[in-house]
Amino acid sequence: MPKLTITANVNGRKISRETQPFSRLLDFLREDLNLTGAKEGCGAGECGTCSVFVDGTLVKSCLMPAAKAQGTRIETIEGLAKPGSLTVLQKAFHKTGASQCGYCIPGMVMAATSALRENPNADIEEIKERLGGNICRCTGYTKIFEAVEMTKAILAGDSPESVLEEDKVGDSYIGANVRRLDAPSKVSGRLKYAADIKMYDMLQMQVLRSPFAHATIRSIDTHEAEAMDGVACVITADDVPGNDGFGVFVHDQPIMARGKVRHVGEAVAAVAAEDVLTARRALSKIKVEYEALPGLYDPSEAMKPDAPIIHDYAPDNLIKHIPIRKGDIEKGFAEADIILEDDFSTQQVEHAYLEPEAGIAYVDPDDVVVVISPSQNITHHRHMLAEIIAKPINKVRFIMSPVGGGFGGKEDMIYQGMLALGAMKTHRPVQLNFTREESLIASAKRHPARIHYKMGLKLDGRLTAISFDMLSDGGAYGMSSEGVMRKAAILSCGPYKVDNVNIDTRAVYTNNTPSGAFRTFGGMQAQFATESMMDMAAETLGMDPFAIRRINMMTIGATTHTQQTLETASLDRVLAAAETASRWEKGAPTVRGSERRDLCGPDTRQSCTLGARIKTNHNNPRFCAQVA
């Protein structure tokens, strides 16, 4: 293939470098020039982690063929300020705390820089629009907008540069505005995430994934792939030397599918090759013979006697059942004046951390297998991997690279094992960077839940009994299901005093994408049902929703339904704060929609519009708040 030579001015220096004719500008910057501040969060123009300036215009470098950069002037995050210094905007990001995991931040800084270059007087609506192509999953944007507005004021001379300095901390750090220690490394793009790290002689891994949800693997033929130029090794479950199996609670998941696949996207084989393209081409040469099995996709089907069995160890497809009993449920419902009963369901949710899974493994000179990855659970991973690769624990090392967002989704060891096997088989460093699509298909999700709820109350609003039955779709592997079910059970009835409770939470196996840890760990699904029930109870009884909660709230000395006596309790203060902040219109929640007087207050979010800059150009009043 004829190579392409790109001559351009990059961050003020002239460069001339060869690359592939099909390289994207992002590849050229990251791989050929080692400028890793621009990241690949999605590779499809959706996230903005790859934003750079080309001839002064901000572009998404994942959507730009490198050839288009010929003869241009490119500016990346690395070139905004002199080495060792930060621009005013970068300092403002540091000051306002506008960086958490930091993965979006180089792109965000670029987009904000562009917004202020394009229009130094942009108002907040226009700033938001101009940052619209960049996603952050951590900060909630408020601090980012604060940083941009702070910069705008400094650049306009409306605000002194001293506002960038750290606030003085008084007697206590609580309530003080403390700057993050790691922010400068993030706002400057210097911080190296796993995909940004390069090692000498490193191979690239790609993974062959199952197109079937449930199938027996009859055979895997890797000969042709192995024979390809540039392929260093192909690995399958056969390469696992020890006891194959990992999981946060039950070790039911093999490093790669062993004998059968249990969900679409499950890893079946992996190739380590000189570059990603060769590895991908080798994948297409691996022949896998599958024999489809009946699939199980609905959790309520899973416990039926004739349901397909997904794991031999669990013929009833049950991952975990957590029962909690307190008081006498029959008596509680008998005492009730009214009984409310309803069903709730929640959906699968993807974490969508901006950093797709990535990692490197190598075998060091002392035969220690080292894995670098943004794992949220390195110690546990280390112990599991030692078993799997049959090594003593002192021959396995895990290094946690900066986590570009995890939210629970990086607790599962879904790829570190493959990396270790690749490194052991080749004795070369091996890197695997997931694509966004791969991250979506292979990583755990929030448990979809179905909850049957029964609540007994007195006419004065007091709860007499709650029966809470939650069935969760655990997907193909156990992962964190057990813990999630436990937390859901503990939090199920909310912070309310109930003498008689019957709680069951169950997670079952299906052939859906595995469910795992996700912020709140099952609490959110449970609270959605409980708090909805409380509102419905208030409406039925003609009570104010805050009042019914105050009547039932746990106070100091209350015994939770898991028999813990509370020494502190703050629900009264939480309710008071929420009531004030929401400007709640007192009374039963029977008034809805535009009739309510507590909607559309000064700090509520207005409905979506765009066009702040068109309005400015035409000076034409558009009517806002079109709620169709």
Binding site: Q20, P21, F22, G43, V59, S114, G132, P621, A628
Partner: protein, 306 residues
Amino acid sequence: MLTCDTYHTPHSLAEALELWSKAPEGSRIVAGATDILPWARDGRAGDVHVPELIDVTRISELDGYTVQNGRVRLGAGTVYQDFLTEQTLMRYLPCMPYCSIWFADDQIRAQASLTGNLVNASPAADGTPAVVALNGEIELARLDGEDIVRRLIPVVDFIRGPGQTQLTKDEIATAVVLDTAQGYGGSFQKVGLRRSLVISVACAAGLVKADHDGRLFEDVRLAVGGVGPRPIRLLEVEQSLKGERISHDLIEQVAQAATDTVGSRSRQEYRREVIVNFVRAAIEDALTNQPNVNISFEDAREEHYA
């Protein structure tokens, strides 16, 4: 992943047409690459190898625009961001800024060409209804021996279905030619899953001209996208408004009637409801956006026009 053997960057149209006519089977034209790169990913076309990619963005003949005899000729190099930065285009093509502001984001708009959007022929493309409302035509060029020959096709006919156009082998699109609509109010409606970076579930473009006093509809142009395999111009709605006294009731009435002209891909009920709201909003927004005219509704609603 999109791979190729050779990436060409021709600087003249003749050179590009020459390369294109000789390019091996499977080769592709590239403009902004904002459709073609995401297309070659898992879940869509997957890994694709093409022999040659021919980039048309450095061809000087395709740059810029001209205005002549009531028509604007946009070179194929015109990108969506131009409709937000070029004052002349904003004035002559009043629905385009609204279409653009809802299109992707600033960064993608700086690359994404209107021509690429039309040639890609997605039923959800935002540019299509706006161009159709402006009586748009697309100009296609090919080599005939040494000569460059061109033809113009109305965009409503050019797009034959999802991903299907009348572009023939060896042809390159060189321009989009539109009515000038100076003095009209323009508008664009879009529903998708979020605000930025989202492909339309359905969209609509409007152009309205009221008389001096803001009392009568002089001209109305409406087109909808995302509701069928091809763009739809709502000619009946337009006719039933022309010359009429401007009122909310009339707008409501024609909006209700508009749903019957709409054959939908999927989620029919939802799309029908959307169309009613779109037609109404497209007309009302366009009226509001008309420069230098204060609209007087026969049945004025105080809260909106205080």
